[in-house]
Symmetry: C2
Subunit: 197 residues, 2 copies
């Protein structure tokens, strides 16, 4: 980029219109690049940990959002992730079987499966979080608080209306704590043998 940032181009005022347009275009191509490289490297650290455990990014997303909202229903999780039931099943089922995620039946609506993290799941989620935390903290420190606020504003703007609503909801109930003892638990997982229900 010829100029650093936002101000008017320091170049000749002749053909400024075209120049402005050019800058706009370069600015936006830069945004594309930044998002591509930035997102890729942001996820790289966690991906590495996941690979060791034969898990993928999709598993991480489930751990993340279940951790963020324990007791979330399958339907809500589907809405947040924006994938199909079948796709979720392929990552959720192994997570349950391997004891990372716990299912319990809903108190009000017994059809619902409320999801929460087991201690093992919390540990893994935290490990992944710490890895990304370091990475983001570095970027935040280098950029400074004002930049961080700007980053947030732009990223919010990049989200669609639906995602903004979901994010709001996520921020509201930070941790609605799951059932203390996930009493009417559901089969599967390495836990007790299928209850004689």
């Amino acid at each position: 980029m010829p100029d650093t940032a936002d101000g008017p181009p320091t170049a000749a005022p002749v053909g400024a219109g075209r120049n402005l347009l050019f800058l706009r275009e370069e600015e936006l191509r830069l945004a594309q690049d930044l998002l591509f490289f930035g997102y890729r490297d942001f996820t790289a650290g966690a991906d590495q940990i996941l690979a060791e455990l034969d898990l993928g990014r999709a598993h991480h997303r489930v751990l993340h959002f279940v951790g963020r909202r324990p007791g979330i229903t399958v339907g809500d999780l589907l809405g947040i992730l924006g994938i199909t039931k079948q796709s979720l099943g392929r990552v959720l089922t192994p997570l349950i079987e391997q004891g990372y995620v716990l299912q319990s039946t809903g108190r009000n609506d017994r059809r619902q499966r409320l999801l929460s993290l087991t201690p093992k799941g919390e540990a893994l989620e935290r490990r992944l979080f710490e890895r990304q935390r370091e990475w983001v903290m570095r970027a935040y420190r280098e950029a400074g608080p004002v930049a961080v606020e700007g980053f947030r504003r732009v990223m919010r703007g990049l989200m669609g209306a639906e995602a903004r609503g979901q994010l709001e909801r996520l921020e509201q109930r930070p941790r609605p704590l799951p059932p203390e003892r996930p009493s009417p638990q559901i089969g599967r997982g390495p836990g007790e043998p299928p209850s004689p229900a």
Copy 2:
């Protein structure tokens, strides 16, 4: 999030240490959410166009970076994308066959295949670009110039050292124009029949 953004917590100063830590954690979890939702919705528009043409995001990335640096070699492109030769081949070959990308042999090193966009490729790249441009412009306008600068700083910080170098190189030579007439072109593609060498 209990508090809005950056300022110190408005809550009681008692246990401020813990509270600050908590805020840090929530701040960083928010960053994860923002990156997930933001990147997803950022790419959604282009993905839609691509789907109509039976192309994928990987094809877009090739179009983008070849358009950004016409005459790029296969090796350099591999370095930027961070994928393997085989993976690139699977998207690049169709793009060449369908007349989006042009290959020409290197002038200095005739082993090299210099890649550039055909008019058809440029048109598609532009169409995809315009879609994302609108989306990003909206976010930029809503957030304001200061925020945009902050966004850039943070995104740069999220990139690894390698990616920063690549981005620098991309910004330096904005458009090193390909061979005027891509003389020693290479077979394939819907172009002329194999020149009588």
